[in-house]
């Protein structure tokens, strides 16, 4: 059996500038950190199994690779020339998908890492990232960017710069544990109870890229200042920048926010948060706030009440820590593996 895991991530500012339509013309930048919530892939060897079994929210048992309905399982196996017969491949996650925490790319890197372990082939973080991008963007034609694949493969707190020639610079942001712990004490993460597909929001964004180019440019250019404020532990400034980023982002596509999200966001600010944003492409998913620690209790209470009023049954606070590790093999029982 092989077990791999890939972390989810919180993207602070710059999301959207990692789309090709933008970074081909001007360097995109994103600053994000991985958190201690993961997507796992398990590969089991079914010695009497004469088919391929993939397990996610559904279970598929098929004789031939081409019959797998789940695009990522199918195309990842095909890309690595794995026939798949006799393999049971399952995916598990600490949190549901479509929450704005980059889980779909975590799924891809965890899966690709596990398949490499199955092949007894070590893979670098860079190659793993590029394979995940190829799988999602080139093969499956998803209208997404590249930030999530990098974030989850490399792990930690990083600035990613997406250059016009297609290369990506990875700049780790060094903060000591005191600043990291202080940041954790200032942040609150909520799952709104609604999910959305990033693709639907991003497709709309892509179409209007030319009109909104200046806004994207401002978002990309705001990343270095955010990094500096983070290193200085200036959380109030970070919150102001998150707000500004979120206000800009809302103008990029109609689907990014909606009345319920706006109400929840305003409730957070009114009950003491310095700033915040909806994570990921928008349209639903998770809300993230930066707030003084002594205001957390009243913010949580106010948002929970508002969520109940709005009929959001799945609304819940998510406790998390920022992490350093990326996509890793946790277990590999194959006796001959390299």
């Amino acid at each position: 059996m092989i077990v791999t895991r890939a972390p989810l991530r919180i993207s602070f500012v710059g999301g959207g500038t990692d789309i090709k339509e933008f970074y081909e013309k001007y360097p995109g930048r994103v600053i994000s950190s991985t958190i201690d919530k993961y997507v796992y892939t398990v590969i089991n060897y079914g010695h009497l199994l004469d088919e391929i079994v993939v397990k996610y929210s559904e279970t598929e048992s098929v004789k031939e690779l081409k019959d797998i309905k789940h695009g990522r399982f199918r195309e990842a196996l095909r890309k690595l020339n794995i026939d798949g017969t006799g393999l049971e491949i399952a995916s598990f996650a600490d949190l549901p998908g479509k929450t704005g925490l980059g889980s779909s790319s975590s799924f891809s890197t965890a899966l690709l890492k596990a398949l490499h372990a199955h092949l007894d082939k070590p893979v670098t973080k860079q190659v793993l990232t590029e394979l995940a991008c190829e799988l999602e963007i080139d093969i499956l034609k998803e209208p997404i960017g590249k930030q999530d694949q990098y974030a989850t493969a490399f792990g930690g707190l990083n600035v990613f710069q997406f250059n016009t020639d297609g290369t990506v610079d990875i700049e780790p942001v060094y903060i000591d544990y005191k600043v990291r712990a202080d940041l954790e004490d200032h942040t609150i993460l909520f799952f709104t109870g609604t999910t959305r597909s990033a693709s639907s929001v991003l497709s709309e964004q892509k179409e209007s890229m030319a009109d909104k180019f200046a806004t994207y440019k401002e978002m990309s250019d705001s990343v270095p200042a955010f990094k500096e404020a983070l290193q200085n532990g200036d959380f109030k400034e970070l919150a102001t920048m998150l707000n500004a980023g979120w206000e800009k982002k809302k103008t990029l596509a109609g689907k990014i926010s909606n009345d319920v999200l706006d109400t929840l966001y305003t409730t957070g600010i009114d009950s003491g948060a310095w700033g915040g944003k909806v994570l990921g492409a928008g349209g639903g998913g998770c809300l993230f706030f930066i707030a003084p620690p002594d205001a957390h209790k009243s913010i949580v209470q106010a948002l929970e009440e508002k969520a109940t009023e709005s009929g959001l049954k799945g609304f819940k606070k998510i406790d998390f820590d920022f992490t350093q590790s990326g996509t890793d093999i946790l277990f590999n029982s194959s006796p001959y593996h390299a």
């Binding site: 201690d36 372990a117 070590p122 893979v123 670098t124 792990g155 930690g156 780790p172 060094y174 000591d176 544990y177 005191k178 712990a181 004490d185 406790d319 992490t323 350093q324 590790s325 990326g326 890793d328 093999i329 946790l330 590999n332 390299a338």
Partner: protein, 196 residues
């Protein structure tokens, strides 16, 4: 002593930060840390194991079910002599490392010259398995360990300045020990606060 304090002040802060992140990541994924060196550097390796396995958790020994898993290689003199006598001295680290190494692990290699063949053999094995390497070296920046390491903790001195390089390496070990001791103390305190 002037030399030691000068090089301490010039210690590569960013590379030490990189090493901290690598060690943090290994802790998160419950991997192992293999440490080795020759002569005085082997003494630093052994000291490192003791500090990371016990000292960093000293203030709350029962409170951290997950701890660092640091090992000095080779872990016994018998293995050292068996590899040296039967195979060759260049295999005393790479030989035992092969028994343990997994992708979730990390290596700390200590060599003042950065060119000891037995150290380089083991580091090459780690690199082939995509295991991150923290390299503590000295003398010239063009040494093999410094070129191969992911975190390049180099103390640039005149060739042969072993006492200076080893003293600074030792101080860096203590710096990392203090950092993680503070980190785990802070974690204990925060976890108690969060429970309330």
């Amino acid at each position: 002593m002037d030399d030691v304090s000068k090089h301490l002040k010039d210690a590569p802060a960013e590379e030490i930060s990189k090493a901290i992140n690598l060690l943090q990541a290994v802790y998160e994924r419950d991997g192992r840390i293999y440490i080795f060196g020759n002569g005085g550097s082997l003494a630093i390796a052994t000291h490192w194991v003791s500090d990371f396995n016990k000292t960093v958790f000293s203030h709350n020994l029962t409170g951290h079910p997950r701890r660092f898993q640091a090992m000095r290689l080779p872990s016994t003199e018998e293995e050292m002599s068996a590899w040296a006598n039967d195979v060759g001295y260049d295999m005393v680290f790479a030989g035992p490392l092969q028994n343990y190494i997994q992708e979730s692990d990390c290596v700390i290699a200590i060599s003042s010259s950065g060119n000891s063949p037995n150290i380089i053999k083991a580091v090459e094995l780690a690199k082939a398995r995509h295991v991150p390497v923290i390299g503590l070296s000295g003398f010239s920046k063009d040494n093999k360990l410094n070129n191969l390491a992911d975190a390049k903790i180099l103390i640039e001195t005149d060739p042969g300045a072993y006492t200076v390089v080893e003293s600074v390496h030792h101080a860096i070990l203590h710096l990392l020990t203090s950092y993680f001791q503070d980190y785990f103390d802070n974690l204990t305190e925060r976890n108690e606060r969060r429970k309330k």
